[in-house]
Structures are given as C-alpha cells and as structure tokens.
C-alpha cells in the first residue's frame, strides 16, 4: 500500500467521525431518548477523532527513529517490505 502521507487517513477518518457526529444525530428516531443518544454520538465522535488525530500527528515528523537489536534487524530486513 502506497503511503499517501497524511491526506488519505485524514480524509477517511474525518469523514467517518463526521458522519457519526454530524449526520447520524439527524437520523435518530424521535423518542424520549433522542437527546441522550445525540449527546452520546457527538461526544463519542469528538473523543475518538481527537484521540486518533493526536496519535497520527505525533508520528507525522519523528525526531528520532527506533533503536533495534541486531536480531530484529536481521529479521525485518528481509521479511518486512
């Protein structure tokens, strides 16, 4: 899989959590629990999206690389693409 840098993951995740937090609340059927369900959807979307965003931005420009043992290097050199 070609690394599309930041663009592809950001678009996919933003669209996904955007749908969860912005579109699904409109589709919840009217009832006594509508408010609670909407709050849950929006809160969940914000929390999960923020958490993922922090994880990917922290790795965007690494200042240092991983330090591997020689056995790991022997293995990874040939077995990982």
């Amino acid at each position: 899989m070609a690394y599309g840098g930041l663009a592809v993951p950001i678009i996919v995740m933003s669209v996904f959590w955007g749908v969860v937090g912005g579109v699904l609340p409109w589709l919840v059927p009217k009832g006594p629990n509508r408010g609670v369900i909407n709050t849950m959807l929006v809160t969940c979307a914000v929390c999960c999206y923020l958490f993922w965003l922090i994880a990917i931005l922290a790795q965007l420009n690494p200042l240092f690389g991983p330090q591997l043992s020689n056995e790991t290097i022997w293995y990874l050199r040939y077995h990982w693409p």
């Binding site: 809160t43 993922w52 922090i54 931005l57 922290a58 991983p66 020689n70 050199r77 990982w80």
Partner: protein, 791 residues
C-alpha cells in the same frame, strides 16, 4: 433532552383529603409513586400521633405472619413470592385478614402440639418394645441348634435355671445415649461391683432424640442384680445419666404379654397419621394466603405512617398533606385523587415556596448506572446542569485511555455483553453476593468501557501487549541497511542500531491508524511513547476542563445570572485558553512544523512554557515561530488581567445592584461573605487550572503501567510456553497458558481495571466537575410501596 440534562421542575403542593377517603387516596398515590410527603408533625412523638392504633394493629398482624412463616419454614416449605401486587385492603377486609390469620395461627399451634405429643408417645412405646425384645436375647432359653454363635455364653441369667438359689434376680432395663455408655458402665461397676451383670446392645434402628431432634442409635441396657439396695443405687445412677428406664417383667410369659400389648398400643396410634395430614392441609392453606396478606399489611402500615404525617384539621374534617410534586405529574396526581375519593372532594393545590425543592432526574436502566456514579459524589442542586449525559461517553473513554489493550478490552466487553444479554434471567438478578451485584448494576458501564478499550487498544497497537501490523509499517529497515551498508558482519559486532529518519526512504509517512508496530520491537520505544502519551494526556485534559467551564454557561443562563457570563465565564475562559490553550497550540505546532532535519535544535516546549511565565528567555532554546516572545507576553498579561475581573467582578456588580433604591439593602457582612466566596472561587480556579492539568498526567502514568505489566506477563510467563517446539512443548504449553490466563484476569483485568476505574472517577469528580458543578441537592424520594423482600 428531558430530565437527564437538568433535573425536573418540582413544586410544593398541598393535598386536601376528606377523612373518609384519605386512606384510599393515599393508597392510589402510593401505587403510582409520584409524591414525596413532608412531615407536618415533626414535634409529635410516634405514640401520640393520630393513627397509632392502626399502626399497632398492623404490627400485631405482622407478628402473627412471622410466626406462620416460621412454622412453614420448620416444615421445610419455602413461601412463594407474591405473583401480582395486591392493593392495600380497606378497613373491613383488614379486619377479616386479622381474624383469619389469628385463627390459622391458633389452629396451627394446636395441631402442632397434639402432633408432637402423639409422636412422643409413639417413640416411648417403641423404645419399650425394643427394650423388651432385645432383653429377650439375654434372658431367654436357647431356641434350638440354630442359635447364632454370637450369643456365645450360656444364658446364665435365666432365672428358671437358678430358681433354686435363695436370691431373687431383679432387672433394670432401659435406654441410654450411646456416648454415655462407657461412663455408665464404669460407674455401675465401681458402685455395685460383683452384684450385678450389665449387658448393652444397640437398638436395631435409630430414633429421634427428643431434646435435639437428631436421629441417634440408642443403646439398650439390661442390668440384673441381687439385693434391694443395689437396686436403689442402680436406679439412682440411671437417673443421673438421664436414662429412660422401663419395667422388665421377670417371667417369660409376662414379657411376651407385654410385647403383644405394646404392639396393640402402637397400632392404636394411627391417629398420628391423620394428625400429620391435617397439619399438612393447614400449612398448605397458610402458604397460599400468606404472601398476599404480607404485602397487603405492609402497604396498609405504610399508608398509615404517611397519614400520621398529615395535619388533621378538626373543624373542617379533612386532612392536609404537604408534598413535593413534579410539575409534570400534577395531572396524574389529580387523577389519582379523583379515583381514590368517594365524591371527588379531594384536590391538590400548588403552593409557592422559597425552599429549594428536591432533585428529580428520571433514568432508564442504561442511564441509571452513569447517574449513580455522578450522584455518588453529590446529588445535583435543584435544576443545575447534570454531568451524567456527557459522562456516559467521557468516563468510559478516559478509562480506556488508561486501559488500552485490544485483548483485555475484548474480554471485558464480552463479560459485560453476557451480563446485558441475560439481564432478565432470575438467576442473575437474585444473586445475593454484594460484589456480584455491584458488577451487575454497572453492566452497561463495563460494556462501554470494554468497547472503548478495544478502540484505544487499536490506537496504542496493543493486543495482550503484542502489536499487530494491520497496515505495513512505515519504517523501512531494508532501506536503512542498504544506505548504511549494514552487512551481516557489521550487525554481528553491533548489538543495537538506530534507524535514522533523515535518510530518505527510511520513514515513509505516519502510520494511518494508531502507533506504528515497529515501536513495539524497538528498545527505545518508551522514549517515543512517553512523549506521545504525556502530550496526549495534557491535550485531552485541557479539552475536558474547557468543556467543563463551558457547561457552566448553561447554569448562568438558566438561573438568570447573565452578568456571570461576562464577569465569570469570560475571564475563566481567557485564563484557561491564554495559558493552557496556548500550550495545546505549541504541542500541535511542534508536531507539525519540526521534523528530523532539525532534530538537533528542536526547541523544548516545557522550557518555553516556563520562560513564558517568568518573562525570561533561554538563548539555547530556539523559538518555535517568529514573534513568539511578544505573543507570549501578550497572552500572559491577558491571563493575569482576567484574574482581578474574576475576583472582583461579581461581588462589585451585586453591590452596585443593591445600592439602587428599588431593592432592599443587605447587611454589610453579606457583602463580605459574597466577596470571600468569590475570592475562594478565584484562587481555586486559577491554581486548579495548573494543578488539574498536571493531574491529567495520570492518564499517561496508568497506561504506561498497564502496558508494562502486560508486557512482563507475556515475556515472563507465556513466552516460556513456546520454548520447546516438540510434542512435549505442546503439553507444557497448557499449564503455562493456564497461569497466563489466571494472572491476566486477576492482575490486568480486575486490579488494573479497578485502578483505572478509580482514577477515571477521580478525574471526573474533581478535575471536571469543579469547573461548574455544585452538587448540594437532595433526591426526591417518592412515597411508593417497596417490592416485598423475603428474607
């Protein structure tokens, strides 16, 4: 959103009840469970209240019911729970219940008594019979050659052989408890040695001990002695040992006659069977009606206790009750009163009050768990914003940050799913273990915690401490090896080497979902993860606290205190954002702007932040962006300027308002109190911002602890199972896996789960809620009939 967002409107109301229909009205209201009654006679002792006689009558009936239930239990029957809930009985019906219950209790007592006396008599007769029969063994002539060898000795005691002797042989026969046999024998020998012969034999069948009720194999003894004094001594000794002594006729003929007579008497006691049958019938009747009666009388007692709280208006012949009633239910209350009263003469009237009403938040089985953890800290004040709807998601999310592991989260999720799917099963609902009940009550909470832990586990890339490469890793070892010509010989002499992201092609971009799997293989993985997790904790903490401050806006608007929006909310927000919002900005900016190329000179955010407060600068720490120093100065000045606004704004505003001639002037020390309160709030808020931000670092600390524990468990326990790659190794793997599983559940799921739960709770209660929540209210406890519980 309904009442989960803020508590419902509750009003004070007065009920006017005609004394004739008061009982049925309260019964109706109790069935619906809407109102909380206030005690209008607080100074009256319970013995002087109006309906104390009726309450006493109910308690007497309950005493009778307890006796009946004890009898049922003694007979081994379990009372069945009442299937449907009967209404409280009217006065006439209550009288009938009382009469019937007393009659049944009387009957039961009589039947039990006669039954026990019959049984005693039967036991007595049977013991006598056995004594006579067994005694025959020692005193009868041998029947023929078929005599069993066990009898051994010659029947030297047969008086017919010794009739020529002067002395007359007498007998004492009876029954003794098996444990006392040796002592009895010894004492007999010491007291009358040589003048008696005692023989003991066990009874062929065990019989009930009248004292303890247990079944014991009694020992029959037969003592033959010479002389009257010896006889007296023997009888005294048998008395001491509580033996049951029976007459033992001397001649064979009279013994056989006695035996036949006893047989006849035992047959006559067939009435015992009929007594038992009658007793069973009575118990059946009791078991049928007792559950309903119990519930009825409980309801009646509750109604009279409530009626005792009303004030009785003698002149108008009506009762007045003061209640807290949710405004939404006023029509239902009116309905209930109309149903309960004979002529529709009872009504409810709303009454204005300055007291703070109780808090009512209606929950369903899902939201009840989350509301209870908020209420555990403090019940919401009347109509203030309720943190529970947000806690439904933020609490499991913050738990999951500290617990993040796909495998552990999955186990937790499945456990909670089982509880949720089988929540209606009576076996689960009626457990009595307190710890199990705690887990069961929080099943939806655990379900969400498990689900979020799976998500954060994927982001941390940890599944039972192992990383999964769902997408291929972004770090290419091959490129680095080719670039730095790492030959096999070179690798053999260098035990550990570092990948350099400055080399093109080594680092290909950020891992699309979560942490790159190569970090779990790296020896310096903690360097990266610590930095990532600490910054994550700070960012999430500041966002959480900012959200808390914004929830305060709803309170200010609802309680008509719009001045607080400008004088409290704005300075609070400016303080938080200028200092800590800027910190979040610095974190994100450094992530985006600085890469491996400037890794040698990358600035330290922490030193910049400290220098910002001290208005100094460090020459070695390069600025993150041009113009950083003046921007920071402006922000600090802005934040410091907001502190006096927060401190003095609201008190001055209230003082100015009171100086206007249209309102009453407060006393001077009221203003001092307001000022003191605001000063405390300001200090708490400003210092709290700093300390609470640091407090959120526990998210980092606990997630690090969890990751390290699970790694240790894997490398020191499970890995040893994979050492032997043979059939023997396969067998060894089974106990190793058992140990791994037990330790995972005990340490990582239970202990770490409880720990993360506790810390997430603390973060909510203290760091989040002290930005907007007061929590000084009390709950509305409506008068409702409690479901009957059988002990």
């Amino acid at each position: 959103m309904g009442s989960l967002f803020r508590s419902e409107e509750v009003c004070l109301a007065q009920l006017f009840l005609q004394s004739a229909s008061a009982y049925s009205c309260i019964s109706e209201l109790g069935e619906r469970g809407l109102l909380e009654f206030r005690d209008l006679n607080p100074k009256v002792s319970p013995f002087q209240r109006r309906f104390v006689g009726e309450v006493r009558r109910c308690e007497e009936m309950e005493k009778t019911f307890t006796f009946l239930q004890q009898e049922l239990r003694a007979a081994g029957r379990l009372p069945a729970p009442c299937p449907e809930s009967p209404r409280a009985p009217a006065a006439r019906e209550a009288l009938r219940v009382q009469e019937q219950s007393e009659q049944l209790a009387q009957e039961l007592r009589e039947v039990s008594r006669s039954r026990s006396s019959l049984r005693d008599r039967l036991r007595d007769l049977r013991q006598h019979l056995h004594v006579l029969r067994e005694g025959q063994r020692f005193t009868s002539l041998p029947v023929g050659p078929g005599v069993p060898a066990g009898l051994g000795r010659e029947p030297i005691l047969d008086p017919s052989l010794h009739h020529h002797l002067d002395r007359k042989i007498n007998f004492v026969a009876g029954v003794i408890h098996p444990w006392r046999v040796t002592a009895f024998e010894r004492l007999l020998w010491r007291a009358c040695r040589g003048y008696l012969v005692a023989s003991f034999v066990e009874m062929p069948e065990p019989m009930e001990d009248p004292a303890t009720g247990e079944s014991i194999t009694w020992v029959i003894f037969l003592i033959s002695y010479w002389g009257e004094q010896i006889g007296q001594k023997i009888r005294k000794i048998s008395n001491c040992f509580h033996c049951q002594v029976y007459g033992y006729p001397e001649s064979e003929a009279s013994r056989t006659e006695a035996i036949t007579r006893l047989h006849g008497q035992i047959q006559e006691l067939s009435t015992l069977e009929e007594t038992e049958k009658y007793l069973a019938e009575v118990l059946d009747k009791v078991a049928q009606v007792l559950p309903t009666w119990r519930v009825q009388v409980q309801k009646m007692k509750a109604i009279y206790l409530v009626l005792n709280q009303c004030s009785f208006d003698v002149t108008k012949k009506c009762l007045i009750a003061e209640v807290w009633c949710p405004v939404r239910d006023l029509t239902q209350v009116q309905d209930a009163l109309r149903q309960g009263s004979v002529s529709g003469s009872c009504f409810v009237q709303r009454v204005p009050t300055t007291e703070s009403p109780p808090t009512l938040i209606r929950t369903n089985k899902f939201t009840a768990g989350f509301q209870s953890i908020v209420d555990a800290y403090g019940v919401a004040s009347y109509q203030e914003v309720n943190p529970a709807p947000y806690a439904i998601i933020t609490f499991p999310f913050i738990f999951a940050i500290m617990f993040g592991d796909v495998g552990h989260g999955l186990l937790m999720f499945l456990f909670a799913l089982w509880m949720v799917l089988y929540e209606d099963s009576p076996r689960l609902r009626q457990g009595t273990n307190e710890i199990w009940l705690t887990f069961f009550e929080g099943r939806y909470l655990i379900l969400l915690m498990g689900a979020f832990s799976i998500y954060t586990g994927f982001i941390y890339n940890e599944c039972f401490s192992k990383a999964t490469a769902i997408f291929p890793s972004a770090w290419s070892v091959a490129t680095m090896a080719n670039h730095s010509s790492w030959s096999s010989a070179y690798l053999a002499t260098h035990p550990s080497l570092t990948l350099d992201p400055n080399v093109t092609g080594v680092f290909q971009g950020p891992y699309p979902f979560g942490i790159d799997p190569i970090w779990s293989l790296a020896t310096n993985h903690l360097n990266f993860l610590n930095s990532f997790k600490m910054k994550m904790s700070v960012v999430l903490g500041i966002v959480h606290m900012g959200f808390g401050v914004m929830l305060g806006v709803f309170n200010h608007v609802h309680f008509q205190q719009r001045h607080r929006l400008v004088l409290e909310f704005l300075p609070e927000m400016i303080f938080l954002l200028a200092l800590f919002g800027y910190l979040v900005f610095l974190i994100f900016y450094k992530w985006i702007k600085f890469s491996a190329a400037d890794s040698r000179v990358a600035p330290s955010i922490l030193i910049h932040f400290i220098d910002m407060f001290l208005f100094t600068s460090n020459a070695e720490n390069l600025p993150l962006y041009p113009g950083q120093v003046p921007v920071q100065m402006v922000l600090v000045v802005l934040a410091l300027a907001s502190v006096p606004v927060l401190l003095l704004g609201t008190p001055l505003y209230q003082w100015c308002r009171q100086r206007a001639p249209r309102t009453v002037r407060p006393r001077a020390h009221d203003f001092a109190e307001i000022f003191m309160h605001q000063a405390i709030h300001t200090i708490e808020y400003c210092l709290g911002c700093v300390s609470n931000t640091a407090s959120y670092l526990r998210l980092w600390a606990l997630s690090l602890a969890h990751a390290q524990l699970s790694e240790v468990l894997w490398s020191m326990v499970m890995r040893n199972g994979f050492v032997g790659l043979s059939y023997v190794g396969g067998v060894v793997l089974v106990p190793v896996f058992a140990a791994f599983a037990v330790l995972t559940v005990a340490i990582l799921l239970v202990m770490e789960g409880l720990s993360a739960f506790l810390h997430a709770l603390r973060l909510h209660w203290v760091e989040f809620q002290n930005k907007f929540y007061v929590g000084a209210g009390y709950k509305l406890c409506p008068f409702a009939f409690a479901p009957d519980t059988w002990e």
